[in-house]
């Protein structure tokens, strides 16, 4: 063992320190990734109501990829720095043997590999989580969209029902008014037709009466001489004067 101005470490001590350092950094990285994702997720949820389902899914997926890329880059950068620092420490250590160096490299490789696997798992898990989140968001949006559509449908149907009712009432009202008007016009025309008919019938009857009377008169006159005719006229005259209310009061007998 050599004593130098620098802090002296044994090969085992180096490995333990570097291991703890990597674990702490990995934990911090994990926490960081989770916090960032949650923030992004929260922001996306706020926005997703205003976005279409496809846009939300696409954006979430893109955001997740970016975050993963960033996380991967950050973790690799941190690991690289840790490895570089560890190698620098190792190089500056005289007491370390070739065998110890190899063992340390192996251990570092192992840690690096595990870290990489761990990151890969985290990537998969995050991806799955985001897919789930996106899916959930999509379903929620679909449900919201469905509910909104249903609400709009109900609203629209309600409006349609009201419109139908209004149109029905207006139509019925107009129909009743039209029926009333038609009925009135029909009655008017019917009355006019009836009056015309009655007038025509009356004229026809009068013509028939005239013809019949003329015929009867001629027949009667054939059987009447002037004396009988004159007597008939005087009888009819007395009858007509009495009917007319002209105040006929016979005071003397007629001459035979």
């Amino acid at each position: 063992m050599y004593f130098t101005d620098e802090f002296l470490f044994t090969g085992d001590t180096h490995l333990v320190v570097v291991g703890y350092l990597l674990i702490v950094m990995a934990f911090l990285l994990f926490v960081y990734v989770v916090v960032v994702l949650n923030k992004k997720n929260l922001k996306r949820r706020k926005k997703k109501k205003a976005m279409s389902v496809d846009d939300i899914g696409e954006d979430a997926y893109q955001d997740a990829l970016q975050i993963l890329d960033k996380a991967r880059t950050d973790s690799l950068r941190i690991l690289s720095r840790a490895q570089l620092k560890a190698q620098n420490v190792l190089r500056s250590t005289y007491a370390i043997t070739q065998e110890s160096r190899k063992e340390l490299d192996d251990n570092l490789s192992e840690i690096y590999k595990k870290q990489a696997e761990s990151l890969e798992d985290i990537n998969k898990e995050l991806l799955q989580s985001y897919k789930h989140a996106v899916q959930q968001g999509k379903e929620e949006n679909i449900r919201t969209l469905y509910e909104t559509t249903e609400a709009m449908k109900r609203e629209a149907l309600s409006g349609v029902d009201e419109l139908k009712t209004a149109i029905k009432e207006e139509t019925l009202g107009a129909k009743r008014a039209l029926e009333g008007k038609i009925q009135m016009e029909y009655s008017k025309v019917e009355n006019e037709v009836e009056l015309y008919k009655q007038e025509k019938i009356k004229n026809l009857n009068n013509k028939i009466f005239d013809i019949l009377s003329e015929v009867y008169s001629r027949v009667i006159m054939q059987d009447l001489d002037q004396i009988k005719h004159e007597k008939l006229i005087l009888e009819l005259l007395k009858e007509e004067i009495n009917k007319s209310g002209m105040g006929y009061t016979p005071n003397s007998t007629l001459r035979e």
């Binding site: 009857n205 009068n206 028939i208 009466f209 005239d210 019949l212 009377s213 003329e214 009867y216 008169s217 001629r218 009667i220 006159m221 009447l224 002037q226 004396i227 005719h229 004159e230 008939l232 006229i233 005087l234 009819l236 005259l237 007395k238 007509e240 004067i241 007319s244 002209m246 105040g247 006929y248 009061t249 016979p250 005071n251 003397s252 007629l254 001459r255 035979e256």
Partner: protein, 176 residues
């Protein structure tokens, strides 16, 4: 002042004279005779109303002449007779005419009976002393007559009575 001058024709005479006339035709005949009398009564050859009537009408002296002759004989004075005849002429010209349309020339009996019936009508402004019958023969009237009295029309045609009978018994609906 316009004072109504009293006619020389009495109501009694007027009634009996118009009753003897009965028709416008007879009234025209009487009016013509009166005009002749008025022309001849101041003739220097003398005047005899009876001879004048016989000269005009022969043996068929009308009945109205007898009524007139009696009335004139009662007057005596020529001027009174003249005034009377002038008033009588005016009365004849103003007399109410009852128009009668029929299809034949009426007999005297018919005219007498018709004059009697019309004279017994209380309304229409007729009485026995102031109307005459004015006959008009119309061949278009098949039977019966038409009477126009005091602005009223009385249809006594056979045709109108038959129409009334046919209407009353609803002949068209029942038999046609």
């Amino acid at each position: 002042m316009n004072e109504k001058i009293q006619s020389a024709v009495s109501k009694k005479f007027r009634s009996s004279f118009f009753s003897s006339l009965k028709t416008k035709e007879k009234a025209n005949q009487a009016s013509d005779f009166i005009r002749l009398v008025l022309q001849g009564m101041f003739s220097t050859d003398g005047f005899d109303i009876k001879k004048m009537a016989e000269k005009n009408y022969g043996d068929n002296v009308p009945s109205w002449f007898e009524v007139l002759e009696v009335e004139l004989l009662e007057k005596g004075n020529s001027n009174v007779v003249r005034n009377f005849l002038l008033d009588l002429q005016e009365e004849i010209s103003k007399v109410l005419l009852v128009k009668v349309e029929l299809s034949f020339t009426p007999s005297d009996c018919f005219i007498e009976n018709l004059y009697q019936i019309v004279g017994e009508i209380k309304s229409c402004g007729v009485d026995k002393s102031n109307f005459l019958l004015d006959f008009d023969v119309d061949n278009s009237i098949t039977g019966g007559m038409k009477l126009y009295v005091g602005g009223k029309y009385v249809d006594v045609t056979l045709k109108s009575f038959l129409v009334g009978y046919l209407e009353k018994n609803d002949v068209i609906s029942r038999y046609l």
